[in-house]
């Protein structure tokens, strides 16, 4: 249904006024007075409406509230219930219009003008307007609420200013140009003022939208809306009839009528239920389950898909904190750790292909930097990828003044045996396996390594607070393909600059250069320039090895063959990023 432009313009202003001043809940009589929805038309092949998708979740969602800190399960569920202004397409990894139909950036890069679609409605039928957008950002920026997303809206130490600039226009003012640009808006869900404002005024927003909430209390602009929750068992979402996307044939999305999440904590049990057909989609498979499911997949009507290297990067690092409270033992060993040749020797000795083969059954990729092959835009193809070489490691050590005694043990220039411990999180068996392999690799060049498995809280305490550790194996998952998301790891005063924390200023020239480059790219509007700057950062990291990068596991997903438009990607949510376009093929 497409009205003429003039009709819309004539009615727009007083319609908008009506929509805001009369709070309504799915009142059918209002629909005729609202402006028609300006749909977003997708480009994927058209599908067939109907059906139910059953997905397995390894943990229960803890909350439906986007303002409160959320775990992964909650994020997946909430992601299907809400929409943002501008959304990063998980497949192309580029921003595209969502609730906003268009936007423009001022020449100085400090003002984003965003135009909202007309005729938007929440899942309960209530109109979605500029005031809801303003309200949502007010919540995200509220200092008393401590939303975890708030820090993303602080650019150059100043929060973004959000202003209404028209009945369908919002202006975002930044204190400095922002390199990643409109990627900023991804995952900032637009929330219903008519349901949340009173709670906010009373200071009860944190307790809103818990899992105990009734379906009528929730509303969002996502493809689905909340229907039923059975604690410990399942969560049922139903199709949102007011969703703002259509397919090529102008059929309103989503195709699926119901989205059901089953809570199955143990992956082996989930695999069995996937095999038997009870579950339609199972992601984050272990390589072993992937292999055993793949054996008879076709006969059972299943597809096992390897989405390639994810955004997770695992690494080994040494304690380079120059903290006066460190124990004598650690300070003594830091003489080795701070030698670049030593770190490069260790990097030469580790067996990345072995890790890929043994720990991940081939379903991982060796990495030499934080940017994995799955990151299309930012990969530096020119980065050196030296293979494993114990000879090179020995040579580097020899040149740095190390020697070996008659038992083959490595000695430093003061004839002391080189030995240290690696701490790791016991809850992550893959990383502990990596540590075991590193231990054996270093034994080959005469270094005695002991492994100390720690519980996660204890591990963080040592790394971030007391710095009472020698080496550590850790992994991080990038939040976005854009490297700006990980700035705090590379900046010297960054809070996750884990190898050397609590620094006001850089301790080495190369760290100073990295600081400089990261600050530059954060406010550089031109992508090519940013890429060059970050390429240089990657080269500095490779040359100085503060983190010795190991491997990145692949995205492994199992799905029924009959599910159409399904394609796993590397950005979260890897399987449900296009849930509004998934459909059941009849054949």
């Amino acid at each position: 249904m497409i009205f003429s432009g003039t009709t819309i313009r004539r009615h727009a202003s007083w319609l908008a006024l009506l929509a805001i001043s009369v709070p309504c809940r799915g009142a059918a009589q209002e629909i005729s007075k609202k402006p028609p929805l300006e749909f977003l038309r997708t480009e994927t092949p058209a599908g067939i409406s109907g059906g139910r998708l059953v997905v397995s979740l390894s943990a229960e969602p803890k909350t439906f509230n986007p303002i409160v800190l959320a775990d992964d399960a909650s994020k997946i569920v909430v992601g299907s219930l809400v929409s943002d202004l501008i959304h990063i397409n998980r497949s192309s990894q580029l921003p595209e219009p969502a609730l906003a139909k268009s936007w423009s950036v001022s020449p100085d890069g400090r003002k984003y003008t965003v135009n909202l679609r007309r005729g938007l409605q929440f899942s309960d039928g209530h109109p979605l307007t500029v005031d809801d957008v303003l309200f949502s950002f007010q919540l995200y920026l509220d200092e008393g609420l401590h939303a975890p997303q708030r820090d993303l809206l602080i650019i150059n130490d100043k929060p973004i200013v959000v202003k209404k600039a028209g009945p369908e226009t919002i202006v975002f003012e930044l204190s400095k140009p922002y390199g990643p640009g409109v990627r900023l808006f991804d995952s900032f869900a637009i929330l219903p003022r008519h349901l949340l404002e009173s709670k906010y005024r009373k200071g009860e927003l944190g307790q809103a939208w818990t899992t105990a909430a009734a379906p009528a209390e929730l509303a969002g602009a996502g493809p689905f809306r909340f229907k039923q929750y059975v604690p410990g068992q399942k969560l049922v979402l139903e199709r949102n009839p007011y969703y703002w996307k259509v397919d090529q044939n102008n059929n309103r999305l989503p195709y699926l009528n119901e989205l059901v999440f089953l809570f199955i904590a143990n992956q082996d049990a989930a695999s069995l239920r996937f095999q038997s057909g009870e579950i339609d989609l199972l992601s984050h498979l272990t390589p072993q389950n992937f292999a055993s499911l793949a054996k008879h997949a076709e006969a059972r009507g299943l597809r096992l898909l390897d989405g390639g290297a994810s955004l997770e990067w695992n690494f080994l690092f040494f304690n380079l904190n120059d903290n006066k409270n460190l124990s004598h033992e650690i300070t003594r060993k830091q003489a080795w750790f701070s030698s670049i040749a030593f770190r490069q020797a260790v990097a030469s000795a580790v067996d990345r292909p072995g890790m890929v083969r043994l720990i991940y059954q081939g379903k991982a990729t060796a990495i030499w930097g934080p940017v994995t092959p799955g990151n299309k835009a930012w990969l530096d193809a020119a980065l050196p990828q030296p293979g494993r070489s114990t000879e090179r490691a020995r040579q580097l050590l020899r040149d740095a003044g190390f020697s070996w005694d008659r038992n083959g043990a490595l000695l430093d220039s003061r004839q002391q045996q080189v030995q240290f411990s690696i701490v790791g999180a016991s809850s992550n068996p893959e990383r502990m396996s990596m540590a075991t392999m590193v231990q054996e690799d270093l034994r080959q060049i005469g270094i005695h390594v002991s492994l100390v498995p720690l519980e996660f809280g204890a591990l963080l305490h040592r790394i971030l607070d007391t710095h009472d550790y020698e080496a550590c194996i850790l992994g991080l998952g990038s939040g976005d393909t854009d490297p700006n998301a990980d700035s705090n790891v590379w900046l010297s005063n960054g809070e996750t600059h884990i190898w050397n924390l609590h620094r006001k200023s850089p301790s080495t020239p190369w760290e100073a250069e990295i600081d400089d480059l990261m600050n530059k790219q954060a406010s550089e509007p031109d992508f090519e320039k940013r890429k060059k700057e970050f390429d240089r950062v990657q080269q500095l990291l490779a040359a100085n090895e503060p983190l010795i990068f190991l491997v990145s596991p692949h995205v492994l997903v199992g799905v029924k063959s009959k599910l159409g438009n399904f394609q796993p990607v590397v950005m979260d949510p890897v399987d449900l990023w296009n849930v509004d376009e998934l459909y059941w093929k009849t054949k």
Partner: protein, 343 residues
């Protein structure tokens, strides 16, 4: 004890002695060092030992062939070109026994041949070697923890049951407390505060002692119950009438009655503590790699894919069960003796 029982006891003791010797002298019996990773042989199935050569003739000396796996270590095939005869009392990886460094092993094959009697694990380490070495730590942990638990439990339970009154109340309330508390966090805390430089084995033993110590409540309760009723028996009253001291009564009359319960507890606790180590490893409170224990080896088995495809990983359990059976039969034989139960 009649002749039949004597015979059985002797046989049982011999078998247990051999089993324990195999574990204590793991360095000798095991062909390889438990930490050596043979990365081209990950999850290799047990090496076939042949007695007939390619010409179809039987030979007294068993031999093995080399095998090759595919890219990710599946489907190993035997390479029939070369054969490696098994040799006995060979020189191999060095190991230490009682402070001495030795290199003689019970059996082995020349490199590059490999004899993985029970296959290999995910890193290509020989499972037999690891299982034997692992027994040292696991059995030690199980026995130490059981001993501590039973000592404390019997003492406190006996005290409570024998004297009754407020002492009984107090001890039982403390026992309830011990049963109800979530010890996990205490274990986490202890592990977190152990110094970094502590040997992994020492750290583990500290945890074992703690676990043994906190587990006294259940045996205490059971012993208390039995002592309570034994205390009121006629012969106890008679002995008192004769002027017997408390200690004498406990030793001569009460303990034998409680012996059945104590021995049953011991037989149950040893395997439970040995197996509890799996949970410890799972939670990150186990021994650090590459030290093998039955617990952390069985941990690898806790995945369906391993269970279905790599059946030899169950070796530690197969090795453990004869030990547990041995303890059980020994316990029941001895229990029969002390409690004077007729077979």
């Amino acid at each position: 004890m009649n002749k039949m029982q004597h015979h059985k006891l002797f046989l049982l003791t011999m078998v247990l002695a051999v089993l324990h010797a195999a574990v204590i002298f793991a360095g000798f019996v095991a062909p390889y060092d438990p930490a050596t990773q043979n990365r081209e042989f990950a999850f290799a199935p047990p090496t076939k030992i042949h007695f007939t050569n390619s010409a179809g003739q039987f030979t007294w000396r068993p031999f093995v062939r080399s095998s090759k796996g595919d890219e990710v270590g599946h489907s190993y095939r035997e390479d029939t070109s070369e054969l490696f005869p098994m040799r006995f009392f060979v020189h191999g990886d060095r190991y230490r026994i009682a402070g001495m460094s030795m290199s003689v092993h019970l059996f082995g094959v020349d490199a590059p041949g490999r004899v993985f009697t029970l296959g290999t694990d995910s890193f290509g380490r020989d499972v037999l070697s690891r299982a034997l070495y692992g027994g040292q730590i696991s059995l030690l942990a199980g026995l130490v923890a059981t001993a501590i638990t039973l000592l404390i439990g019997t003492f406190l339970g006996g005290l409570a049951g024998f004297y009754g009154g407020w002492l009984d109340d107090a001890i039982m309330r403390v026992a309830d407390l011990f049963l109800a508390l979530p010890w996990l966090y205490l274990l986490f805390a202890i592990r977190a505060f152990l110094p970094l430089q502590m040997e992994p084995l020492q750290a583990f033993l500290v945890l074992v002692v703690v676990i043994g110590t906190v587990g006294w409540a259940r045996p205490a309760r059971l012993v208390r119950g039995v002592v309570l009723s034994a205390r009121e028996r006629n012969y106890v009253h008679a002995a008192r009438g004769f002027g017997a001291s408390d200690g004498y009564i406990v030793w001569r009359h009460i303990l034998p009655g409680a012996a059945g319960v104590i021995v049953t507890q011991a037989i149950l606790l040893i395997p439970q503590y040995v197996m509890a180590e799996i949970t410890l490893s799972f939670l990150g409170l186990g021994v650090g790699e590459p030290v093998p224990t039955w617990g952390n080896m069985l941990n690898a088995l806790m995945q369906m894919s391993v269970l279905q495809s790599y059946w030899w990983m169950i070796a530690p359990a197969l090795l453990a069960i004869p030990f547990f059976l041995g303890y059980q039969f020994l316990g029941s034989l001895w229990g029969e003796q002390v409690a004077r139960v007729k077979p």
